[in-house]
Amino acid sequence: MNDEYRRQAPEPLTPLPFNLSPAVKRTLSCGMNLVSVHDDRQPLVNFRLILGTGDIHDPEGGTGVASAVASLLNEGTENYASRELAEEVDRLGAALSASSASDHAVVKASALSGFASEVLDLLAELVLRPVFPENELELYKQNAIEGLKYQRSQPDFLADEQVGRVVFGDHPYSINSPTPDDIKSLTREALAEFHAGAYVPNNAVLVAVGAIAPDVLADELEERFRKWNAGELTEKQFPDPPARSERTLTIVDRPGSSQANIVLSNLAIDRRSPDYFPVLVMNQVLGAGASSRLFMNLREEKGYTYGAYSRIYARRFGGSFEATAEVRTAVTGDSLKEFFYELERIRTDAVPEDELRDAKNFLTGVFPIRVETQGGLIGQIAAQQVYGLPDDYLETYADNVRAVTAEEVRRVAEAYIHPDNIAMVVVGDAGDVLKQTSAYTDNVDVFDTEARRKDLDALLAAQDAPDADVAGVWQVDISAQGQDLSLKLELEQDGSDVTGSIDSMLGQGTLKDGTVSGAGLKGTLVTEMQGQEIELEISASVSGDSMEGLITIPLMGEPLPFKGSRVKTE
């Protein structure tokens, strides 16, 4: 028995209007702007003090300064040691933190509204009176350098680094992270100087959402910030990103990698572009979500990947488009084919009505869900301030999404996606990737995971090279989570077949299914650990008496890199 009304999804009810409390704007006597929304549904307050200075404003030769300044604000002030700040914040049941992004820095504070005064005291203390203690800076440097080592093992990070470099060139949006040398050369003096120049009221806006009346809040802020002195702000000029005239491929070589991280990217819009809403809808149709075209094609239909997406990075002084997926190495070329198919399709064909409607429904639907909490709402208002969006931006958001037409979607896709001169970045085994990408460009650069350029001709030659001779005894060093593990590998070779045995501190084992093809060595090491048999996939590139590659422990996340050298020839 099936009731008729159950057969189809029901029609929605009448949409309810979304009435946000109006934001009140004013300027305090020190010159800082205040934007506040009086929201007394719950006895909570949320504050964000935003500085219009971010990582792109790092001083000449001081990459990483802006970020270090923000990170160290709560590690010691004139009146509180780091630990005292932590204890005071916890005693209030409050939260307080600071961070820096490319366009701006932000200090966030939230608490029960009964503690608004106390938490504003702490917020002012962080912004006005940080001291950047020498010992805390040292600890910060150590942790940041350790963190970078981990980052360099992550393919996402390696891809971002190259995408930034290729797409943004000398523009500071190209920098995805300071280098260890940048971090080592940070000094207390440089931090204090940056703080003195950037943390000034004429560069600041305080956004508040919470159960506090705007007048009361303004008085509280006057009390704490009245003596904050304005500074001189210099408009920084940024170099133009490079103009592109052809498609390029940049490979970050991870020999033996079974995965390839693909990113296709070109310049697109800044955050205030009049095309922002059509681009938002276009991106939703193309790849923003798990019902968008890229996901449905590359994952659902083809099964090349767990997820394929596109993104729009619209920032203050520019921005970019990216399409990305992490795929099995063997389908790198096939994946590129589907990417280009989808990029061309959305530029050429009008989006069907139902697909357009679904994309718009999603965008207008999640919007109120995202601003349900004070924390969500303040994020939206803060973005409005950072990017200088119109006052009625939130109120008109849904209408602006709904107004986008199929023709606009096609037009902005054509205007902002450039398949013919897009930058392709692939993190993966360069040899395997190169075999599959020749149809897409012959402008190719290869780097290693330390961002050093590699010799492309040598790589190409290695592909046509006769099978390497691998016989002998190899000393292999695996670097695992900062620890080194070494093992001895004894190999025998018969044509392209390889057999052998391993000997390590963990136990002994054998090599099965070993093969050599050109410079590539592949096989499975079968060994015993804790009485359990485990299989380690090994994949390496051999050059003379040395090899480098990756060893994969089944399903254990990232493969571990290793290097080997021949200690004895058979």
């Binding site: 099936n2 999804a9 949409p15 049941g93 503690f115 639907g365 650990m529 804790q530």
Partner: protein, 425 residues
């Protein structure tokens, strides 16, 4: 502890429809958003030997389509309406929920009711979801460093199978499951009279009631599921075990204590004792181990809250070459200190402010309200407890915390699991 904050009551209307489905409405029109939560009174506690993992397997089955909703369409319907959704399984319950623009309430009720009345329990769905669960087990438990240690500790703390086995269950049991077993499980546990439906957010109560009747009214009630026994002796089942974790980069340990059921005064006192010991940068153990001794990279602890006997767990991943025994001694000494002298006045102030803050914060989101209300309705038979438990917690005294810590934590009656990494073999 006293409070000078007025915490307003959450507005609730509770009723049952004829088939026994309990419905709780929590209208709040501050944002045009609605959340729907359906909680079934079935978790791993309802499983018996030979049938472990069924509750969780079933959570997967619930996304495989029903009479009018195709396989995996549930997700697409919600996405296209601009919503979010999920489902989870614990020892206590299996839940399903979605948050949508307020005018999409009918969609959520249609989707939830269709799978409650007509889930597609087929051999094909069973086979592929069984494989999906195995894959999930491999990814989330077997092949993650430290991925299995919580399940192992649970099995050491409890003696009763209903409490001691994991939610993910045994793969042999799942392999043995027949489509008839699964149909029977669905019939017994996924009945309207074994579920709670909560609607929270912006909606008219009359409209909501009509929609609930329209979509859920004709689903037949079933006989109530068999009673279960989760009683435990006070001793822990096993006090020490070593576990060799081939994926762990560093040694670690986990300690566990058996404590009284949720919402008892002693449970509340121990929950607060735990917060003082391990919660946040100003907690006692963080300041002693992560800061002071600098012997630990990661410190963690939590209370496992159950309707029956519950537990407290504290664990640490020490820095390389640190003496684990010494770290454990510090933990035991800190517990003894708390059990002897009780919390300091400033700690009580911190607890009070953190409790009120998190209570108020969690009320902002319709989904969080719907979930909390559903739990109280299911566990306590009274959703109104959402307005009471915060006051129960705030009335716990320093001496309540001291004496509960003394009785339940300051004791040798605890489980200790040592995790030994492969590199130490």
């Amino acid at each position: 502890m006293t409070t000078n904050f007025e915490i307003g009551d959450i507005l609730l209307e509770q009723y049952s429809i004829e088939n026994g489905l309990r419905v709780i409405l929590n209208p709040d029109d501050s944002v045009p958003v609605v959340s729907v939560a359906v909680y079934y009174d079935v978790g791993s506690r309802n499983e018996w030997q030979g049938k472990s993992g069924f509750a969780h397997l079933f959570e997967h089955m619930m996304f495989q389509g029903s009479e009018n909703v195709g396989k995996a369409e549930h997700f697409q319907f919600i996405m296209k309406a601009g919503g979010t959704m999920n489902g989870t399984t614990s020892s206590e319950r299996t839940n399903y929920y979605e948050t949508l623009p307020a005018n999409q309430l009918p969609l959520a009720l249609w989707l939830e009711s269709d799978r409650m009345r007509s889930l597609a329990v087929t051999q094909e769905n069973l086979d592929n979801q069984r494989e999906a669960v195995k894959e999930e087990k491999r990814l989330r438990y077997d092949n993650q460093p430290y991925g299995q240690i919580f399940d192992i500790l649970i099995s050491m703390i409890y003696k009763n199978f209903a409490n001691a086995h994991s939610t993910i269950g045994s793969m042999e049991d799942l392999d043995d499951a027949t489509v008839e077993d699964v149909r029977e499980f669905f019939r017994i546990y996924y009945a309207p009279n074994n579920a709670v439906l909560v609607i929270s957010g912006s909606f008219g109560t009359e409209t909501a009631k009509e929609l609930v009747e329209k979509y859920f009214g004709s689903i037949p009630a079933q006989q109530l599921p068999p009673k279960i026994d989760v009683e435990e002796p006070s001793e822990v089942a096993e006090t020490y075990r070593e576990y060799h974790d081939p994926l762990a980069p560093l040694p670690a340990f986990l300690m566990g204590w058996k404590i009284p059921p949720r919402r008892t005064k002693e449970f509340h006192a121990l929950y607060l004792a735990g917060k003082l010991l391990y919660d946040g940068d100003s907690s006692r153990l963080y300041q002693k181990l992560v800061k002071g001794e600098e012997s630990v990279t990661q410190l963690f602890g939590f209370t496992d809250e159950r309707r029956g006997p519950s537990s407290v767990m504290i664990g640490a991943i020490p820095k390389p070459d640190k003496d684990l025994d010494r770290i454990r001694r510090t933990i035991v000494e800190e517990i003894r200190e708390l059990a002897t002298n009780g919390p300091r006045p400033e700690e009580l102030e911190k607890l009070r402010n953190q409790l009120i803050n998190s209570e108020v914060r969690s009320r902002q989101s319709s989904l969080s309200r719907a979930q909390t209300i559903a739990e109280y309705a299911l566990y306590d038979g009274d959703p109104g407890v959402i307005n009471e438990e915060i006051h129960e917690l705030l009335s716990i005294t320093a001496d309540d915390i001291r004496s509960a810590a003394d009785k339940y934590l300051n004791t040798e009656n605890r489980a200790l699991l040592d995790v030994i990494p492969a590199s130490a073999a």
